[in-house]
């Protein structure tokens, strides 16, 4: 598979989305809505759930399944309100000392007049700052597209995992190609250069683990992932200085 094949796979509408992971890996999900400032952004889902016997806060970017739902969810492109809702739920998790699990799947933060008016940049910046300091375990799993700052805003975590065909990039290969080669059709070439596959992220230290997609969407697949996640949260629960370790994790890039 070329890098661009992976990009196409990551974008495929037949892939499981956040709500599938929530429904299959957790029990007793209670969705919580809204950023308490302006509105509820349906591009991000969040709430309370049990992972086994463990109460956790689960948050994820949701692209939706059919066309109508996808439109309602802005195709998984969050507005500032989505990021503010996510941060509200993370702070709530910190207050009640439960871990946070994030699912990331977005081509990027929403691009629009309203998003700019309501401070898209500020909303992402605040998440980066605040996630770094959370005193509870955080794990982010990239399940499809990891589009730049819009993905990072839910991925400043203790551990970052990526599905085998998920991608993570600072810019879309099309965007990169149209800037570098003045031709978006050169995207496959750009995808190669950007080193955006899960394996690349692993070798750069950006991700800790690549999740095999064998049997993706089956009960077995979710069961295996839930088990690994449970183990990880247990281990992180014994850490004494999570914010310090998390800072050093990100501090190491480009030192």
């Amino acid at each position: 598979m070329t890098a661009y094949d992976k990009v196409r796979t990551a974008r495929s509408t037949s892939r499981p989305t956040t709500q599938d992971y929530i429904a299959s890996m957790f029990t007793g999900f209670i969705e919580l809505h809204g950023d308490r400032r302006y509105r509820d952004d349906e591009a991000i889902i969040g709430g309370l759930a049990y992972l086994g016997d463990k109460p956790v806060t689960v948050i994820g970017i949701e692209k939706g399944h059919d066309t109508i739902e996808r439109m309602r969810r802005s195709f998984g492109a969050p507005e500032p309100e989505g990021y503010r809702k996510a941060l509200r739920l993370m702070k709530q998790a910190e207050k009640f000392r439960r871990p946070v699990v994030c699912f990331v799947d977005t081509s990027g933060a929403y691009c629009g007049i309203g998003a700019e008016e309501r401070g898209q940049g500020q909303a992402i910046a605040e998440n980066l700052m605040e996630m770094m300091a959370l005193r509870i375990p955080t794990v982010s799993i990239l399940i499809g597209e990891g589009g730049s700052g819009g993905a990072l805003a839910l991925a400043v975590s203790d551990k970052v995992w990526m599905l085998e065909n998920a991608v993570y990039s600072v810019i879309s290969p099309e965007g990169c190609a149209s800037i570098l080669y003045k031709d978006a059709s050169e995207a496959p070439k750009a995808a190669e250069s950007l080193r955006l596959t899960a394996e690349d992220a692993l070798s750069l230290g950006v991700a800790e683990r690549v999740i095999s997609e064998d049997g993706i969407g089956t009960e077995d697949f979710y069961g295996r992932l839930a088990e690994e996640l449970y183990g990880e949260l247990e281990a992180l629960g014994h850490e004494t200085d999570l914010p310090g370790t998390r800072y050093q994790r990100f501090r190491a890039f480009g030192r």
């Binding site: 933060a109 691009c111 629009g112 007049i113 998003a115 700019e116 008016e117 309501r118 401070g119 898209q120 940049g121 500020q122 992402i124 910046a125 605040e126 980066l128 700052m129 605040e130 770094m132 300091a133 730049s148 700052g149 990072l152 805003a153 400043v156 993570y168 990039s169 600072v170 810019i171 990169c176 800037i179 570098l180 250069s193 950007l194 080193r195 955006l196 690349d200 992220a201 750069l204 950006v206 998390r246 800072y247 990100f250 501090r251 890039f253 480009g254 030192r255």
Partner: protein, 281 residues
């Protein structure tokens, strides 16, 4: 041409007796706003602000000279420069060109300086270096500066100029957003002051990280400040954009900047803010 020197002075710049006539061999600049041609010395005398109000983009060193006490700047982390972490095609040549064009090793200059006698850690981004794009070295210098300031209890003043993340460094560039934000947070949690000055243009990954994380956000008039690029927004939404879309005035009106300060008043304003927060000369 002759007309320019005989007509009545029509703006402050001329009224104050500054000549519009260039010295021999002097470079002239055309104001992108009013299209007036201005000799370099005239611009120098006016902090590179045209009489029409347009704030020219200026190099990091010029800004440091203009806005900090004479001779007080002491550079830190000057040896840090971009590597090519992904072996990205064509990047080495691009870096070479940027270094030549700017005379800098990276897109940000970091150090300490006094402003009206008060010491601060400062970073100033450079428009001449790939339009201030954020590579790993940019993020590293800014992070080191915040760590330095945190250890010594210094305030940080940062001037931002950036087209955003540097795509040739891929994920390593993206991670700088998280890294710098973490360093800002630690500085902030120590109760220390961070002032950002948004200058033209401040966009993308820099807006979505340390540019928007200041305790006090100052913006230069008319600067472009936003997250997504204007053309991208236009193409995505197919709507006509408000005239002042993504300007300093726009973000102030929407609640994302504290003050708009013209460059001529910038040093006084920053000094006031430093003094208010306990700065001592």
């Amino acid at each position: 041409m002759a007309l320019r020197f005989t007509r009545k002075p029509e703006n402050e710049l001329e009224k104050e007796g500054r000549s519009l006539e260039p010295h021999a061999g002097e470079t002239e600049y055309v104001c992108p706003n009013c299209h007036r041609t201005l000799p370099e010395t005239t611009l120098d005398d006016n902090q590179w602000v045209c009489s029409c109000g347009h704030h020219f983009r200026i190099s990091a060193r010029r800004r440091i000279r203009m806005l900090t006490d004479e001779g007080s700047f002491s550079e830190l982390f000057a040896s840090i420069e971009s590597t090519d972490p992904l072996s990205f095609p064509g990047y080495q040549e691009k870096l070479e060109k940027a270094r030549k064009a700017s005379g800098e090793k990276e897109s940000v200059v970091t150090g300490t300086a006094r402003i009206d006698g008060m010491e601060a850690a400062i970073f100033v981004m450079s428009p001449e270096f790939m339009m201030g794009s954020m590579g790993a070295a940019t993020g590293e210098k800014i992070t080191l500066l915040f760590e330095y300031a945190t250890e010594r209890g210094l305030p940080v003043v940062g001037w931002t100029v950036s087209g955003g993340a540097r795509m040739q460094e891929g994920l390593m560039s993206l991670m700088q957003m998280a890294k710098t934000s973490g360093a800002v947070k630690r500085h902030s949690d120590r109760g220390l002051l961070y002032i950002t000055v948004l200058t033209d243009p401040t966009t993308g990954g820099v807006t979505a990280s340390f540019a928007m994380e200041g305790d006090i956000i100052v913006a230069e008039p008319g600067a472009t400040v936003g997250f997504a690029g204007r053309r991208v927004v236009e193409q995505t939404t197919m709507e006509s954009l408000p005239r002042d879309f993504q300007t300093s005035e726009f973000i102030l009106a929407h609640g994302f900047a504290d003050i708009i300060t013209p460059r001529g008043d910038e040093k006084r304003m920053i000094a006031e803010l430093l003094r208010f927060h306990g700065g001592q000369a």
